[in-house]
């Protein structure tokens, strides 16, 4: 897997520069808890060609605010909501509650699951 390191504030510009919906499909956004921080990958795959996917990635602190791609790529909203739900990633505009019920554990895929803030 070949990654291109970026910083979150450059994400929108980078995507705008190469993303052509008839040539690339936004696969998904993925977050991995590496133990110290979150590794976020935005994965794009070519349509109809067997080529390397483009992976933009960035290491961020837990709960660091991240920009949303939803304005550019509508399909990204769901992946962002899921990451927000399961790993507590703070994507712009994403709310928890896509999958988890109020009495389920918060951000279960983190290595040290977060305490539920009962408000």
């Amino acid at each position: 897997m070949r990654r291109t390191e970026i910083t979150p504030d450059r994400l929108l510009g980078e995507v705008r520069a190469f993303y052509d919906p008839t040539r690339w499909r936004f696969l998904t956004v993925n977050a991995t808890d590496t133990g110290a921080e979150l590794l976020i990958d935005w994965i794009f795959v070519p349509i109809g060609r067997d080529e390397e996917p483009v992976i933009l990635s960035s290491c961020v602190a837990y709960q660091a605010p991240l920009p949303s791609l939803a304005a550019l790529i509508p399909a990204s909203a769901l992946g962002e909501a899921e990451m927000c739900d399961l790993l507590g990633v703070a994507f712009e505009g994403a709310k928890p509650g896509l999958f988890l019920e109020p009495d389920a554990p918060r951000a279960p895929l983190l290595k040290t699951p977060r305490e539920r803030d009962d408000d």
Binding site: F99, L100, E101, P102, D103, A104, P105, P108
Partner: protein
């Protein structure tokens, strides 16, 4: 005329997927289709709890579907039987102890007939339903209630009403 005898001749089914993997659901569908054809036993699938005699449940009951399951169960008229189809429905199966499931349907509602197997075969499902029909014959009109919902009750938006309904039913039994 004995209604019990005739009820057995044409039981209607209500099917609810409480978080299964669809494996058992497509086998239920296969039962309704020509090869296994439960319609020859008078069994029809109607998606209406008020008309159904048999509740076929699949899935380990996820947190979000538990109150719907309880609500469907309470809406069914007496006498009624519940058939749990699939290993994960009986005990949680492969999903046991995952963070978003309750381990099996019998934690929530009384189950009359268990069908094991992952996925349960159509023959097994038909046998489970046939066993349930025998039980149905001897059931009275006494109201059966779901068990208490496990886990604390939270209120959020429109979901509150349902939860409280289910909670009230279980309070009466205690």
């Amino acid at each position: 005329m004995r209604l019990e005898r005739f009820r057995k001749k044409s039981p209607w089914i209500l099917h609810y997927n409480a978080g299964s993997c669809n494996g058992c659901d497509i086998e239920i569908l296969a039962c309704l289709a020509p090869r296994y054809d439960v319609e020859r036993l008078g069994i029809l699938n109607r998606g209406n709890p008020k008309q159904a005699d048999i509740l076929l449940v699949t899935g380990p009951v996820t947190h979000r579907s538990r109150d719907r399951l309880v609500e469907l169960y309470t809406q069914m008229a007496e006498p009624k039987v519940v058939v749990a189809v699939g290993s994960c429905t009986c005990s949680g199966g492969i999903f046991r102890h995952m963070y978003h499931v309750g381990d099996g349907v019998d934690q929530f509602i009384p189950v009359d007939s268990y069908v094991a197997g992952c996925a349960a075969r159509p023959e097994q499902i038909i046998e489970g339903v046939a066993r349930a029909l025998e039980i149905l014959e001897h059931k009275s009109h006494e109201i059966e209630r779901p068990f208490q919902l496990r886990g604390p009750l939270y209120c959020s938006g429109e979901q509150t009403i349902r939860r409280q309904m289910a909670a009230k039913v279980s309070d009466e039994t205690n």
